[in-house]
């Protein structure tokens, strides 16, 4: 069996992203959000989860300023972050439209969408009040 996730498991995430909508799996059994998408809820192993719209509001758990991105197509410097969404899930993303000295671990951020290499990617900017 290949290691790929179940076919179509993540389609809705990317379809919604094309519409600039951020979604995440929410379990119908335990109500927990999780990410990345899994066949079963990692909290209670239920398969009754569905994608729901996220507020896109979260906190920077950690970040790293990358000065040597993998290739020239990426911005340089590139701020890669681990975002903790307020709904209790996490994802890798970027912090954009600010300088590394304007924020720190724990700063509040909000999701936006940016067309990168033909895909609408969720990225994050500093929330008002943190700027």
């Amino acid at each position: 069996m290949p290691n790929n996730p179940a076919e179509g498991l993540t389609d809705i995430f990317w379809e919604q992203a094309q519409e600039s909508i951020l979604v995440r799996p929410v379990c119908g059994s335990c109500d927990k959000s999780f990410f990345s998408p899994q066949v079963l809820c990692p909290n209670c192993q239920s398969d009754t989860w569905e994608y729901q719209k996220s507020s896109g509001e979260g906190t920077i758990y950690s970040y790293t300023v990358v000065h040597r991105p993998p290739d020239d197509s990426f911005p340089n410097p590139l701020i890669i972050a681990d975002i903790e969404l307020d709904e209790g899930w996490r994802m890798f993303s970027w912090i954009v439209k600010c300088d590394p000295n304007e924020f720190d671990i724990g700063s509040k951020v909000k999701a936006h969408f940016q067309n990168f290499a033909g895909t609408m990617l969720p990225v994050f900017t500093l929330s008002k009040g943190d700027q």
Binding site: T10, F35, T64, F92
Partner: protein, 384 residues
């Protein structure tokens, strides 16, 4: 617990930035060197843990590498879960000890794949929630290290001491890819370009080509071999999450390895301070520091000072990565974890041409790390 298992042979090919041969060929070269070293012929090999599926693997496609076909033999035991490094050797030790097979070989490496590219492809895992944002393996580790740096504010120059010391061990080792490169001062480390904060170029491991192999058999069989047996005294693993899929967090994996190390030392009947030589998985400078903390030699956040005060160079209290490590000796992708075992065995035989710890009787070997979200450890020792 007494595992009836020992390492009877080791094989190490030339390590280089680029080798003009195939990965299969360089792996078989390492295997043959290890068998020659053990004085054992291929006929006697009945167990194998090596990368690529088969026989009994998970891909049935035509052209898939099948070691029984490549080597023209059949096996009693195949380790297919994590067929390299410490988990491969521990599984083989258990298999040999239980009589599932008599002679197991563990090997891995790469050649003809890196080319001129600055970034090895295996450092950019293809996952739809990772790759589009430009993640690479060092960045996963940087996300964890940055939390540590903010929380504990370690002295950067003293952190650099660890990188400089390990790289300087490689600088004098003719077999190291970075032979002749150095000596480095801590200032040189932070003067090198920043790749992903807090890591500078000289904080990060190599991506190189070459292969390595070990032969595991029973202690009795190993005693008949030309070289003294090196016993597998204990080991353990921690599999926290699949590597490089979801964001690793300091609060979850900052002490990854604590359980595996405690269990390893418990099985071996030794404590971290009893070890004569430490072959730690130095994927970056900070991971070396972190492992001194997870061994329990110092508290979280104190590793930089502990390592600086006690010393990790030859002749110091905790001689570490005596061949130059992944930072300077070599890091051959999936074959990298096996390199650590080969150096530990070399040290315990007392045959290292450089970096030899005098009368080393026990060695700690580790693999993987916090950013990979899994970790493993083993203690090796001379046959008493």
């Amino acid at each position: 617990m007494n595992l009836n298992a020992a390492i009877a042979g080791i094989g190490l090919t030339k390590q280089s930035k680029s080798l003009s041969m195939s990965s299969i060929a360089v792996c078989v070269e390492a295997l043959n060197l290890a068998l020659e070293d053990a004085g054992i012929t291929l006929d006697e090999v009945d167990g194998i843990a090596a990368r690529w599926p088969g026989p009994g693997g998970t891909s049935f496609d035509s052209g898939v590498i099948d070691w029984s076909g490549v080597l023209g033999t059949s096996f009693r035991w195949v380790g297919d879960t994590y067929p390299q490094g410490i988990p491969g050797v521990l599984d083989a030790a258990a298999a040999v000890s239980a009589g599932l097979c008599d002679v197991a070989v563990i090997f891995g490496g790469q050649a003809g794949v890196l080319g001129e590219s600055e970034l090895a492809t295996y450092t950019r895992p293809k996952n739809e929630f990772v790759e589009p944002w430009g993640l690479f393996t060092a960045a996963h580790f940087a996300l964890i290290a940055n939390v540590y740096f903010q929380r504990f504010k370690p002295d950067r120059d003293r952190l650099s001491y660890a990188a400089a010391t390990i790289r300087n061990a490689g600088a004098i080792n003719p077999n190291a890819v970075m032979y002749g490169r150095g000596p480095y001062t801590p200032e040189d480390i932070v003067s090198s370009p920043i790749i992903c904060e807090p890591f500078h170029l000289l904080d990060l491991c190599l991506a190189t080509e070459g292969a390595s192999a070990v032969v595991v058999t029973t202690v009795e069989r190993a005693r008949d071999c030309p070289n003294p047996p090196i016993r597998i005294l204990g080991g353990s693993s921690e599999w926290y999450r699949q590597q490089y899929v979801d964001p690793p967090r300091y609060d979850e994996v900052g002490d990854l390895g604590k359980d595996a190390l405690a269990r390893t030392f418990g099985i071996a009947g030794l404590s971290p301070r009893d070890i004569d030589v430490y072959e730690l998985y130095d994927i970056n400078t900070w991971e070396v520091i972190r492992q001194f903390e997870t061994m329990g030699l110092c508290d979280s956040g104190e590793g930089v000072e502990f390592v600086y005060e006690n010393g990790i160079g030859l002749g110091e209290r905790f001689p570490t990565n005596t061949d130059g490590g992944l930072l300077s000796f070599s890091h051959t992708g999936w074959g990298g974890p096996t390199l650590k075992i080969v150096e530990a065995v070399t040290q315990l035989r007392g045959t290292a041409k450089t970096g030899q710890v005098i009368e080393a009787e026990t060695a700690l070997v580790t693999g993987a790390g916090s950013g990979a979200q899994y970790f493993n450890a083993a203690v090796l020792g001379i046959d008493r």
